[in-house]
């Protein structure tokens, strides 16, 4: 296949990654969000593979495989089990202000495009756009952690931030030195395990449905002034 085709293909996939983030934000139930997250991981993996193919960076095949295993299979499966185990599958969590959230999300996307516009030097525009998309994915992940009050949803947001990072790392820069991928992988794995631990610990109280109940530690109560 010729370069342009592949470039446009990459762009389309990236756009799909972004779309997956939107889906995760807007889902009320957890399982569909987890599926969307799995799809996002898969897409990132494919993008990585494509870049490996075009840029002839053998290292990237490895990280593509790694990504697919972790982000598309292992972690979604873990979360799935967790949700079932904690009986959160039926739990619905409507957004506080759905319209506002979507508006914010769109604004963030535009913002990240505006952000990368001044970057003119030495790089073809497609790289720039992918950078914009990955930035948007990161910001959307953060936004998701802000707007969703379910613990698992926040974890999803966190993970999709990682997806955005990974996308930026591999696509915008034709693959960074391997340590980073390894680092990210390691990080994600430990993170997943940690989440498991926390959920089992926090499971008793209703904190998982609503993290806002985790507010024992604050300074707003009146001290002696």
């Amino acid at each position: 296949m010729s370069g342009e085709v592949i470039q446009s293909l990459i762009l389309i996939l990236a756009a799909l990654v972004l779309f997956a983030s939107f889906v995760q934000i807007s889902r009320e139930r957890l399982l569909p969000a987890i599926h969307a997250f799995a799809w996002q991981g898969a897409l990132v993996a494919v993008v990585t593979g494509l870049i490996a193919a075009t840029g002839h960076v053998p290292g990237l095949y490895f990280s593509a495989a790694l990504t697919f295993l972790l982000k598309a299979l292992l972690i979604p499966w873990l979360l799935h089990r967790l949700v079932r185990h904690l009986k959160l599958a039926r739990h619905r969590e409507p957004l506080g202000h759905p319209i506002l959230t979507v508006v914010l999300a769109v604004a963030l996307v535009i913002f990240s495009y505006w952000l990368v516009l001044p970057i003119v030097a030495h790089s073809l525009s497609s790289t720039r756009n992918i950078l914009a998309i990955s930035l948007a994915v990161v910001l959307l992940g953060l936004l998701m952690m802000v707007v969703r009050s379910q613990a698992v949803a926040q974890v999803l947001g966190f993970m999709s931030m990682e997806n955005g990072l990974f996308l930026a790392a591999v696509s915008a820069t034709q693959g960074m030195p391997l340590v980073v991928e390894l680092g990210v992988a390691f990080d994600v794995m430990v993170a997943a395990v940690l989440f498991g631990v926390f959920f089992l610990e926090l499971g008793e109280g209703g904190e998982l449905h609503n993290v806002d109940r985790l507010n024992r530690l604050d300074e707003t109560r009146d001290g002696d002034l």
Binding site: Q154, F158, T173, P177, V180, G183, A191, G223
Partner: protein, 500 residues
């Protein structure tokens, strides 16, 4: 290559002994011995760091095993090893009692094993972050700090501890992710400039080519790095994890967090700032990075100072003071110029010595009173003069009184402020005054006054504190030539200009 063979062993010993310690301590669960092994590992690391200092003074910069020792991190490495050792000494007896009281039977032993091995992990990741030559490894190491400390904070398994750990993990996880994005952007800006992109994350390589980087990308990258690592530095408004983690985690961990981790994170920001300054040099916004630091620093100083007046928990109190102090240091680096930079570097060292000493003493104080609530801690001097006076003197040092070291750096910092940006003194002055009032209005009530019912002396091992306070005093009276030399070089590196 000659330098490599010269500095190889000390570096490796300093950094990787704790790595070994992780596994050893994970294997042996027996309480008493584990404590000693913990101390032993920290001791070996410290001794090696002394050797390293000697090697550095003899041979200059050392590059070995992917690690890099230069003027900027040598003093911090020695400091880390020292504070790590004294904290290990403190925690050996302290954690035994705490875990036996807080956790029951089997969980207690398990908790001790977990604690010791994670303690080493914490030390290792910090030392790695300080010494590594690679920005990626730096990032991984800082992430490792987060993971290990999250588990340490949640050690007591109380609901509060879990909540604190959860928040800590979430906030710092996000921060770390942003920092990684910043690092990616740095690489993105660098890849086309560097001869060999494979080395694209090697700091010294980047430093040599820093002038040619794309400024826009670099400043965006710096924002991400600042917000990301800044979360771990405890800069307002990303600081909220800090009081929770300090107050709920075990006291030795609080000492290490305040004393070392914040420094390490700030060190990471500083490394990147050097690259960004290089890239921005010549552009109209040459000092942009510095201005960001100044802004964050002042805000942190003020907010930390105001929160001092709100806190009802002694450990939260001192964590807020850490926020304020890190704000001062950040402000100093942002101010730039040899004087301010020197002051900020000195400030980092003295603050971590003092603050860890304070936390160790606070550990004993809370042990005496059986609570962390300030309102229930009274008359420490009457109850146990040793602890009471030590706490008072340490806080005096913390408040920046001579003859202790913090005074010297605050003196230089204020002098530099009046030199470079006099108007900022208008913010600095109330900030310092409020901080001071907030600290003393609480501490004075805790140490002075008659003894409340039910406060009894405890077995306290204050030698680490004495040693550290003696060092602080020494640094306040005079700065040893060696250290002055290191700091001078570091200043020349960071500020781009040597001292007068």
């Amino acid at each position: 290559m000659n330098a490599l063979s010269n500095g190889f062993w000390p570096v490796v010993l300093t950094v990787y002994t704790p790595l070994l310690g992780i596994f050893v301590l994970a294997l042996i669960g027996r309480a008493q011995r584990a404590g000693w092994v913990n101390v032993g590992c920290a001791g070996v690391s410290f001794a090696a760091s002394i050797w390293l200092a000697w090697a550095y003074t003899v041979h200059g910069d050392i590059v070995a095993a992917g690690l890099r020792i230069d003027a900027l991190n040598i003093s911090l490495v020695v400091l880390n090893a020292l504070v790590g050792l004294s904290t290990a000494l403190f925690s050996r007896t302290y954690m035994l009692e705490m875990l036996s009281t807080r956790l029951s039977g089997a969980r207690g032993v398990h908790g001790l094993r977990l604690y010791n091995s994670l303690f080493q992990a914490f030390l290792f990741t910090m030392l790695l972050a300080l010494t590594t030559a690679n920005l990626g490894v730096l990032w991984v190491a800082v992430e490792g700090c987060t993971l290990s400390t999250v588990l340490l904070v949640s050690l007591y398994r109380t609901p509060e501890a879990l909540e604190a750990a959860w928040k800590y993990f979430m906030l710092c996880g996000v921060g770390i992710a942003l920092a990684l994005f910043g690092t990616v952007l740095v690489y993105f800006a660098a890849q086309h400039v560097l001869p060999n992109p494979a080395q694209g994350l090697n700091w010294s390589v980047l430093y040599t080519h820093r002038k040619q980087f794309e400024p826009t990308v670099m400043i965006i990258a710096f924002v991400f790095v600042l917000v990301g690592y800044g979360t771990k530095v405890g800069l307002v408004p990303m600081h909220q994890w800090l009081p929770d983690a300090h107050s709920e985690g075990p006291t030795p961990v609080s000492a290490l967090l305040s004393g070392l981790l914040l420094n390490v994170a700030l060190y990471a920001v500083l490394r990147i700032k050097l690259l960004v300054d290089g890239a921005l040099a010549g552009t109209p916004s040459a000092h942009l990075a510095g201005h960001l630091l100044i802004g964050f620093g002042l805000v942190s100083l003020l907010v930390g100072a105001l929160f001092l007046h709100r806190s009802r928990d002694i450990k939260r109190l001192f964590s807020y003071s850490s926020i304020g102090h890190m704000g001062m240091i950040t402000f100093g680096f942002g101010l730039g110029g040899p004087l301010a930079t020197f002051a900020a570097l000195l400030y980092m060292i003295v603050h971590s010595l003092t603050k860890s000493a304070v936390f160790i003493t606070v550990g004993h104080a809370t042990h005496i009173a059986g609570t962390q609530t300030i309102d229930h801690i009274r008359g420490l001097i009457r109850t146990q003069p040793k602890v009471g006076w030590t706490l008072l003197i340490a806080v005096v040092a913390l408040a920046g009184f001579p003859p202790f070291g913090l005074f010297t750096s605050e003196f230089l910092l204020l002098g530099a402020t009046m030199h470079r940006a006099p108007l900022l003194a208008i913010v600095l002055l109330p900030g310092m005054a409020i901080t001071f009032a907030g600290l003393f209005r609480h501490v004075q009530r805790m140490v002075y006054g008659p003894v409340p019912a039910g406060q009894t002396p405890v077995r306290a091992n204050l030698w680490p504190v004495y040693v550290q306070m003696a060092l602080v005093l020494w640094l306040g009276l005079t700065i040893p030539t060696l250290l002055a030399h290191w700091l001078g070089q570091a200043t020349a590196l960071v500020a781009g200009a040597p001292l007068p």
